[in-house]
C-alpha cells in the first residue's frame, strides 16, 4: 500500500532527461502537476510530450535503447522505487489509438481489477458500470456488455480504453492525444468527464489541439525540442503576454 505523502503534488518531475540511443528526447525538464488540476502539455511534433508521459508510468522501459536521468515522483514516491505493477495501477494511461484487449466489453474493463485480485461479481459489476459511465460509454453498451470490445466503433473503443484506464482507480490519469480517433461530439463528452474527474484525480493532458488545452487545463506546459519553454496558468499562456515569445507564436498557430 502506497500512502500519500507530501502535500499537493500528484506528479513531480525534476531535471528529467531522456535519450533514445544517443538522441536526446527530453533535456532537463522540471515541472509538476497538482492534485485536483488538469495540467495541459502542448508542443510541436518531437517536443517530448509522449516521452514525458512514458516516464511517469515507466513504460519507457519498453522502448529498446531508451535511458533516462532525473527524478519522477508520483504521489511523493520515486517511480524507480516501486514495482511496475504497483506504479501502473496508480497511473492510468490513454494513448492516441485505442487498443481493445481481445475480450468482451465487460472483461476489458474488469481486467485490471481482476488482475489486482478482485473476484466478487457484485463488486466488479459496480466497478464496470461506474467506469463505463465515467467514460460516457455506458448507455451505448449496457445491453451488450458481452460483445467483443473490438466490435465497437473507433470512438467507442477509445472510450472503452478510458474506462479501462479508470478501472484500476488511478490517482494520476495521463491522456496522450486521446481525441485523435474520436468524433467531436464524443470528444466534448469526454472533456466534460475529465473536468468532473479532476476533483479526485491528477490529470495530465497531452494534446496537439491547443484549444483543447485552453478549454480544459488549469495550467499549461509548453514543450519544444525536448525542453520546457514555459509553464504557467492557462490564462497567462493564452493571454497577450506569455513570458516567451515562442509560446505566444505557438498558441496562435504561427509556429510548430
Amino acid at each position: 500500500m502506497v500512502t500519500r505523502i507530501s502535500g499537493e503534488r500528484g506528479v513531480e518531475i525534476e531535471g528529467l532527461s531522456v535519450w533514445y540511443g544517443k538522441k536526446p528526447a527530453l533535456e532537463g525538464v522540471t515541472l509538476h502537476a497538482n492534485r485536483g488540476e488538469i495540467l495541459g502539455v502542448i508542443g510541436p511534433a518531437s517536443a517530448g510530450k509522449t516521452t514525458l508521459l512514458k516516464c511517469i508510468n515507466r513504460t519507457l522501459d519498453f522502448v529498446p535503447g531508451a535511458r533516462w536521468e532525473g527524478s519522477v515522483r508520483v504521489e511523493g514516491l520515486d517511480v524507480r522505487s516501486v514495482s511496475d505493477a504497483a506504479l501502473r495501477r496508480k497511473v492510468g494511461m490513454v494513448f492516441p489509438l485505442p487498443v481493445g484487449l481481445p475480450l468482451s466489453v465487460y472483461d476489458n474493463v474488469a481486467f485490471a481489477p481482476r488482475m489486482a485480485g478482485i473476484r466478487r461479481k457484485a463488486v466488479l459489476d459496480d466497478l464496470v458500470e461506474r467506469c463505463l459511465r465515467q467514460a460516457a460509454l455506458w448507455d451505448e453498451v449496457k445491453d451488450r456488455l458481452g460483445m467483443l470490445g473490438s466490435r465497437l466503433s473507433g470512438g467507442q473503443q477509445q472510450r472503452l480504453t478510458i474506462a479501462r484506464a479508470l478501472s484500476h482507480e488511478p490517482e494520476i490519469l495521463c491522456l496522450d492525444e486521446f481525441s485523435i480517433a474520436v468524433d467531436p461530439v464524443t470528444t466534448m463528452r469526454i472533456e466534460d468527464v475529465l473536468v468532473e474527474l479532476k476533483a479526485d484525480v491528477t490529470i495530465i493532458l497531452v494534446t496537439n489541439l491547443v484549444q483543447q488545452a485552453r478549454r480544459l487545463a488549469d495550467r499549461v506546459a509548453f514543450l519544444n525540442a525536448g525542453r520546457l519553454v514555459e509553464l504557467d496558468a492557462t490564462g497567462a499562456i493564452f493571454g497577450e503576454r506569455p513570458r516567451e515569445k515562442m509560446t505566444f507564436d505557438y498558441v496562435r498557430g504561427r509556429f510548430g
Binding site: D84, L101, F111, A112, T161
Partner: protein, 288 residues
Amino acid sequence: MFTETPLVRRKLSIEAATKLAFGAMAASMIVPLVLIVGYLVAKALPVLSWEFVSAFPRSNMKAGGILPAIAGTFYMVAISLAVATPIGVLAAVYLNEYARDNWFTRVVNLAVVNLAGVPSIVHALFGVGAFVFVTGKPCILAASLTLAIMTLPVIIASTKQALAAVPMAFREACWNVGASRWQTIRHIVLPNSLSGILTGVILQVSRAAGETAPILFTGAVFFRRELPASVLDQSMALSMHLFSIATQGGQVPETVQYGTAVVLLGLVLAVNLTAICLRIYFRSRKKW
C-alpha cells in the same frame, strides 16, 4: 471513362499470365499427394482389412496384421510429445515473453536453430549414447526421448511464432493497467496463440511417427510377438516395420508392404486433418 491504352492492355495480360503461372504452381502441390495416396491405396487394397490393423503378424510377417507396430508407434509418439510439448512450449514462452536480447538468449536461439538442422540419424546416435546408456538396453523410453529431442526445436520455433503473432499492443495495454507479465501471458497471450501452438505440436506428431532413423538403434525392433508391457520394453514401430519388410528382398508380399505404408500415411493424414480442424475452430473464435 477508362480508356484501354496498349500499355494498360499489356499490364492486364501480364497480370493474368503471372496469376495463372503462380496458381498452376500452387495447384501442382495437389498432384503428388493424390498420386501417392492413390497408388498406395490401390496397391494395398487386397490386404487392407480389420484383421490387418488388429492382429499380430503370422508366418514370418507374410500374413496377419501389424498391430504391434501400430501400438509401438502410438506409444513412442505419445511419450515423446508428452515430454517435448511442455518443455518446448515453456522454453518458447520464456524466449518470446521474458528473455532480453543478451548473449544467453542468443546462445539458446542458436542452439534451437542448429538442433533443428541436425540429421535424424545423428539424433539416433545421440540417443544411443545418452538414453540407451542410461536405460541399459534399447527400449520405448529411449526411442521416445530421442524423438522428443528431435521434435523439440521445431515445437519451440512454431510456438515462438504463434506467440509473436499476438500483437505487442495487447501486452502493453495489459502492463499499462498493472498486470504482471505472467498475468498477461496467462490471460491474453496464451489464449490467443493456442491454435498456433497446438497446430505446431500436432504437426510434430506426424513427423515423430514417420521417422525411422531415431528409433532404429534406440528402441524399435524388427519383430516382436507381443505388445510392449512397459516403457522399458522394445517394440515394433510402423516406420521401422515398413523399412525392414521393404528391404528383405521380396520375402514379404508387396501388398503387406503397401498396406503398412497406407496405415502409416493414414495416421499422419488423420493427425494433420485434426490440426486443420483445430485451426479452423480457433480461427472462428479469433478476437481481433
